[in-house]
């Protein structure tokens, strides 16, 4: 008897506990997908079809569907870790996770600025930017003054009222005009170099992209790629009206084998050449070249080491550990030459 009573009591208590939950409980066949970072819920269940339903009826059905879905979304949002903003008295705020629904970006990924020609050179030589103070002591004014710009130390040379004619200069030449001209030239040269660096930094040939202006060369490359992008590698592709007759071949070289039978004299001379190479005392390595290469590498490494010792404040000239590859010329070293072999298949 007593056992029954307990069971009854438990059931009643359970019911009482579940009662408030009934008002927030929603039944769904398929569970909703949530992206709480975007406050987004996706309900995959097919909504009740109502092609004939009148306006008011449809509205009420749509609203009840929306209510159920919102209830589920709100339940998820209330389940997030929450806290009080601005101390204990602030409003209740929930920590949202990162949005998970993938959406396209507005703009492409930022591209790192390609190094300028000077930066490349400085890196090779291990030259670092020195941080100079902006204020220097001006002996004449007995004052700390700017190194550059308005009220600079030593006075602005452009405002000199008198210029000494340098030794060996034409006495009739206007030194003021010369200084002005030089300055203008310097500015123009800097601007020119800046533009040249921009032009160098432009990435060549990434296919056609709907941005920016495509250059003639780029378009030409694109047509070349398009031409061979057929199943038959462009063999049956008709020519465009003004296309050059034979476009330069793309890709790697094709191997050509010497015929198995045929030119006996050529084969004989080839073999003899090979034997002579093997028998001779002359080293196959071009010594001068190899030595030069080695020297250049050592130079670069020493420069890099010096730069590192001097201080690691500047970020610009940061050195690669093995950044001592020569700029050009070092490529065709003697080591490469060793691998050269006479063309064709050898049969003995």
């Amino acid at each position: 008897m007593a056992a029954l009573c307990v069971e009854e009591l438990l059931a009643r208590a359970e019911q009482r506990a579940a009662e408030p939950h009934r008002s927030v409980a929603v039944e769904k066949e398929l569970e909703l997908e949530f992206d709480l970072g975007n406050l987004l819920a996706l309900d995959r269940n097919p909504p009740p079809s109502m092609p004939r339903a009148a306006g008011a009826q449809r509205e009420s059905r749509l609203r009840s569907l929306a209510r159920d879905n919102t209830q589920l979304l709100v339940a998820q949002l209330w389940g997030l870790p929450a806290g009080r903003a601005e101390g204990a008295t602030g409003p209740l705020v929930a920590q949202l996770p990162e949005p998970s629904y993938r959406l396209p970006r507005e703009k492409p990924l930022p591209r790192p600025r390609p190094p300028t020609r000077w930066e490349q050179f400085a890196r090779l030589k291990g030259i670092r930017r020195r941080k100079r103070t902006s204020l220097v002591w001006d002996e004449a004014a007995k004052q700390w003054r700017r190194r550059w710009g308005y009220e600079r130390a030593g006075g602005d040379p452009a405002r000199d009222w008198l210029i000494e004619v340098p030794a060996g200069a034409d006495p009739n030449e206007d030194q003021f005009a010369k200084r002005l001209r030089d300055k203008r030239e310097k500015v123009a040269r800097n601007e020119f170099n800046r533009l040249r660096n921009i032009a160098r930094g432009a990435l060549p040939g990434r296919g056609l992209h709907p941005t920016g202006h495509q250059s003639r060369a780029e378009l030409g490359r694109a047509t070349q790629v398009a031409r061979v992008s057929t199943a038959s590698l462009g063999r049956f592709q008709p020519r465009l009206p003004k296309e050059p007759a034979a476009p330069p071949p793309r890709g790697g070289k094709k191997r050509h084998f010497a015929p198995l039978l045929g030119d006996l004299a050529a084969e004989r001379s080839r073999q003899l050449e090979l034997l002579r190479g093997l028998g001779s005392k002359k080293p196959p390595l071009d010594l001068t070249r190899a030595v030069n290469k080695q020297l250049r590498e050592e130079d670069a490494q020493a420069a890099a080491g010096k730069g590192r010792k001097r201080g690691q404040r500047g970020k610009r000239g940061r050195q690669r550990p093995g950044g001592g590859k020569g700029p050009a010329g070092g490529k065709k070293g003697g080591a490469r030459r060793q691998q050269q072999r006479p063309a064709g298949r050898k049969r003995s």
């Binding site: 408030p20 939950h21 008002s23 927030v24 970072g37 975007n38 406050l39 987004l40 819920a41 996706l42 309900d43 995959r44 269940n45 097919p46 909504p47 079809s49 109502m50 749509l62 609203r63 569907l65 929306a66 209510r67 879905n69 919102t70 209830q71 979304l73 709100v74 339940a75 949002l77 209330w78 929450a82 903003a85 409003p91 209740l92 705020v93 929930a94 920590q95 949202l96 949005p99 629904y101 993938r102 959406l103 396209p104 970006r105 507005e106 703009k107 492409p108 990924l109 930022p110 591209r111 600025r113 390609p114 800046r194 533009l195 921009i198 930094g201 432009a202 709907p210 941005t211 920016g212």
Partner: protein
């Protein structure tokens, strides 16, 4: 792209800041929308644009004058507008005999049209028509998409993605729970898309989660899909690309199980078994003679101590 190819240098700091704001960024700013009125726009379309402007407000620009352009035929003017006001979402409204009450919703990538979908308005109830309290400006909406149609084909999937992109507003780390007061509900059924916006009323339920009641707020639209212009697969993929710097770095040797317990894996040095202390026995003890010879050989004093 633009930043690097900035051939013309900004002359003032302000101009430089302005240009920097528009450059591609690692974490992007909230997408802005332009709402453009076409050459012929009737009252319905104009009101729709105004209402959507009211919903989007801090992140939208409403063009009030007519712009005679047809996005599906020529996208250049849209691209120009997008570049001018630095907006990557657009909504274009027009009305003509062939396509009455026409809305074109779309988005840009790198100032070029990525996706654009034409929607016809079948029924429109304005924000003003419903005499209810409205939610404050700039409220982040809850977005709900109902209906299996949204996963049926690529066009609907893109439409869903586009609508999320358009209405989601800024991404925020935290949200005030009492401030969740506005739902945009999109239902796709019977070949139509029903867009409804409701104001949320949080009622007491007796438990922690409040009971939700909804109140129609407007604007509500019944839309049908017309023409579409979707980005090619590879361009879309390119636009989805995420920067490597933003991806969370994988932590090595830490794993989690389904219950959320974290496990660590520890790598130990190999144990030197020769130094293992085994059971001491009288028989194995080194005799003084052996000790002497070892000492002669010059073993470190540390080792001798242990013996």
């Amino acid at each position: 792209m633009e930043a690097l190819d900035r051939v013309v240098k900004p002359k003032t700091k302000r101009a430089k800041r302005f240009l920097e704001k528009r450059e591609p960024k690692l974490t992007e700013n909230t997408k802005n929308a332009i709402l453009i009125k076409g050459g012929n726009a009737n009252l319905t379309v104009t009101e729709t644009l105004k209402d959507i402007y009211a919903l989007k407000k801090p992140f939208a620009v409403l063009y009030k004058k007519k712009n005679i352009t047809r996005p599906f035929e020529d996208q250049t003017s849209l691209e120009f507008f997008s570049k001018k006001s630095d907006c990557s979402l657009f909504l274009f409204g027009s009305h003509n005999k062939k396509r009455p009450n026409n809305l074109i919703i779309g988005r840009m990538f790198d100032y070029h049209v990525l996706d654009m979908i034409e929607l016809g308005i079948e029924k429109f109830v304005s924000l003003k028509d419903i005499k209810n309290s409205k939610c404050p400006e700039g409220t982040k909406p809850m977005l709900i998409f109902a209906g299996d149609t949204f996963d049926l084909n690529e066009e609907y999937r893109r439409l869903k993605s586009l609508l999320i992109d358009f209405f989601r507003g800024p991404t925020v780390p935290t949200i005030r729970l009492a401030g969740l007061e506005y739902v945009l509900h999109f239902t796709a059924m019977d070949g139509k898309i029903y867009m409804r916006s409701y104001k949320v009323l949080l009622k007491k339920s007796g438990c922690k989660i409040p009971r939700i009641e909804l109140e129609e707020m407007g604007p509500s639209l019944d839309l049908v899909m017309r023409r579409t212009h979707l980005a090619s697969e590879d361009l879309y993929k390119l636009s989805l690309k995420q920067p490597k710097a933003l991806k969370p770095k994988k932590k090595k040797n830490i794993s989690h199980d389904v219950f959320g317990t974290s496990y660590g894996r520890i790598h130990m040095q190999k144990q030197d078994l020769s130094k293992l202390q085994t059971r001491k026995m009288k028989g194995l003890k080194k005799r003084p003679a052996a000790k002497m010879t070892e000492e002669d050989e010059g073993i470190s004093p540390k080792k001798l101590k242990s013996v």
